[in-house]
Amino acid sequence: MQEVVQEQALLERPTVVASPWRVAWRRLRRKRLAMIALTTIVVFYLVGLLAPVIAPYGYRDQDLNHTLETPSWSHPFGTDRLGRDQLSRVIWSARTTIIVTFATILTGSLVLSVGLGLLSGYAGGRTDTAIMRTGEVFASLPALPMLILIGATMRPKAVDAVDWLESHIGSDALRAAVEERSGPEFAFLLVLGLLTVVGLFGVCAWFVAGPRRRGIWLLPGVAAVIVITFLWAVQAIFATPGAADYFLMFGALSLFFWVGGARVIRSQVLALRQTEYIVAAQSMGAGTRRILVSHLLPNVSPIIIVGVSASLGAIAGSEIALTFLGVGVHDPTPSFGALISDAAPQPVLRTHPYLLIFPAVAVAMLMFAFNLLGDALNDVFTPRAR
């Protein structure tokens, strides 16, 4: 009798199990180098996001009386050939890098690769073949020359498109639309409002529904939040000169950055599809969406994280490389690629080496930090016996 009571007490006591995420975070925190890398990345991102606040000068403020000055108190990194403050240019460049990486990660790495990877692995058959063959074509293309081709040829088209969008959904056009209460601009606002409601509802429901049914609410909620953020970012970026460059670049980069992720996710889904819990869920009548979202997605998310951390560095590198080659972001929009390409010719190196050192060190540190973190995350999520 006594034993039965004890057993029941044991059963009723809520069992505390550390979630896999917490375990992973704990493992990561123990790696000192990874934490340093993470801090570096966070600082870089904060500096970039807060560029309008932090930067002592604007990125296009010229001071022709003080060109090519060596570092001093008023210009800690010196000034370039137009007298623009190099420190401010570096800070604003971080912002460019962040915008391009984020947009590309969102479209190329998350939406395209996760969506297509899950679909391809779970649906199989013709869908799988179609997606994977398309991916094969993209993967077999030499990415850099293709990106150069796209950047060099499509720019006028992108500029036109952005101008058109700006005149239709830019803040001024929207303000006018609110007053008129008609036309496609007003419809755009309505869609945005509707999405906000769906997103808020999804997020609320996610908290209210409790852990078991969260998966169902997660999809519309997350989708709406992503779409809103995206639309709003799109809308806000129009004000910045050089918006067309951003769009062109992240569009082109997305095309080439989804394949690797989609392949890995697909193969993981193929393996997971045979596992007992998926078969059990299927036999209990769970729909495709439920299986995809609440069973498969959580189990491939470690791979997604590792993949994203790896491609963050690669995308940032591509942005800098393309700008260096003159087909990425264009002057006056600052970018590390432009800063380095301005400082790289030998005559400049001979007389003004400081112009190279600061942006180059910033890029090198960021890349190293991305790689260190990616390596550590790989260890954390896919622990193997060494």
């Binding site: 180098l33 094969e136 074509v137 077999s140 293309l141 030499p142 990415a143 850099l144 020359p145 293709m146 150069i148 081709l149 796209i150 950047g151 060099a152 040829t153 499509m154 006028p156 088209k157 560095g313 590198g317 800098i320 490389a321 260096f324 080659l325 003159g326 087909v327 690629g337 380095i340 390409s341 400082a343 790289a344 010719p345 030998q346 190196l349 001979r350 080496p353 190279l356 180059a360 890029v363 090198a364 890349m367 190293f368 991305f370 790689n371 260190l372 390596d375 060494r386």
Partner: protein, 330 residues
């Protein structure tokens, strides 16, 4: 169809399809992207009538698929990639690319050679020192070298070796000249000009190879047959040479393709910064001066090389390592 032959055939069947897709996408982008193609072709200050004549002459009024078919026919039968617009106005694109390819190949081959020559021993060494203080140090150094982009590392090296230390006289290209048809090229591999590009191009690849070799060596070191070799009293060096290295180096075959890509992408920056007249520099010039025919030809040639190289490497790998299954698991 099963077996190596079937696998090779299946891969080869894909070749024309992929090449068609690549060429069609690239052609479409070049012809439809830059607004009016004739504006670039004709240059500034040309009246409407002359433009219309040019359109008729170059076949721009033909249906799009016909333009594509004619272009590809020219490419496949006579290596006719059209003419350059801006860099060398009116010169055949192939005559521009061919000598420059030979220059890039010189640099690329040396760099590829050094990548593996230095990377393999470094990786083996790091693996054998696992657990000592050298281990984290070497991993960190490899990762550092692998993560610094070429376009960041190169100006630094120029600053150090050319400007400050003055060990290497100046950048550029030179050496004994060889006649290769339309023009002569310099064999820079016999001069000091090869030093800087080789270093900067092989550093990231070398670090990558070293990391891979270290990882595979560590997994091989744990195998039973290595323990057996040790147990029967084989000297350490022979264990590494005969049993460990042979098995640990197999996966390197797959990396050759990857290092090839890294080298090629690096060439764009190295040749531009150092002023080496190869295809990387040409690509940069073509991109900045909007010479679409040159860019298109470069993309087609590089894509073809990539696809073929990847197939050769995959087939070679299945030949070398019989444990690898052909194609995807059923």
């Amino acid at each position: 169809m099963q077996g190596l032959l079937g696998y090779t055939l299946r891969r080869l069947l894909w070749l024309p399809i992929i090449l068609f897709a690549v060429s069609f996408i690239a052609f479409t982008i070049t012809r439809l992207g830059p607004g009016d193609y004739v504006d670039v072709l004709a240059g500034p200050r040309v009246d409407e009538e002359a433009k219309e004549r040019l359109r008729e002459e170059t076949g721009l009024n033909d249906p799009f698929y016909q333009q594509y078919a004619e272009y590809m026919e020219g490419v496949l039968t006579e290596r006719d990639f059209g003419k350059s617009f801006t860099i060398y106005r009116g010169v055949d694109v192939w005559d521009i690319i061919w000598p420059r390819m030979l220059v890039s190949i010189q640099v690329g081959l040396i760099a590829l050679f050094i990548t593996f020559l230095a990377g393999i021993p470094l990786g083996l060494f790091a693996a054998l020192r696992q657990g000592t203080a050298l281990d984290p140090l070497s991993i960190g150094t490899f990762l550092l070298f692998q993560s610094i982009p070429v376009l960041v590392a190169l100006p630094f090296l120029v600053l150090l070796f050319v400007v400050k230390l003055e060990w290497i006289p100046a950048t550029g290209w030179g050496g004994p000249r060889v006649d290769v048809g339309p023009q002569t090229i310099a064999l820079g591999i016999f001069t000091k000009h090869i030093i800087l590009p080789t270093i900067v191009l092989s550093l990231p690849g070398m670090a990558g190879v070293a990391r891979l070799v270290r990882a595979t060596t560590l997994s091989v070191l744990g195998e039973d047959y290595v323990r057996t070799a040790r147990a029967k009293g084989l000297p350490g060096l022979q264990v590494v040479g005969r049993h460990v290295a042979r098995n640990a180096l197999l996966p390197l075959v797959t990396v050759i393709g990857l290092s090839f890509i890294t080298l090629l992408e690096g060439a764009f920056f190295v040749e531009t910064i150092l002023g080496i007249p190869g295809i990387g520099q040409l690509g940069y010039q073509a991109a900045t001066s909007r010479d679409y025919n040159v860019i298109l030809a470069l993309v087609l040639i590089l894509a073809f090389t990539f696809v073929v190289a990847n197939i050769v490497i995959d087939v070679a790998y299945t030949l070398i390592d019989p444990r690898v299954r052909y194609g995807e698991p059923k």
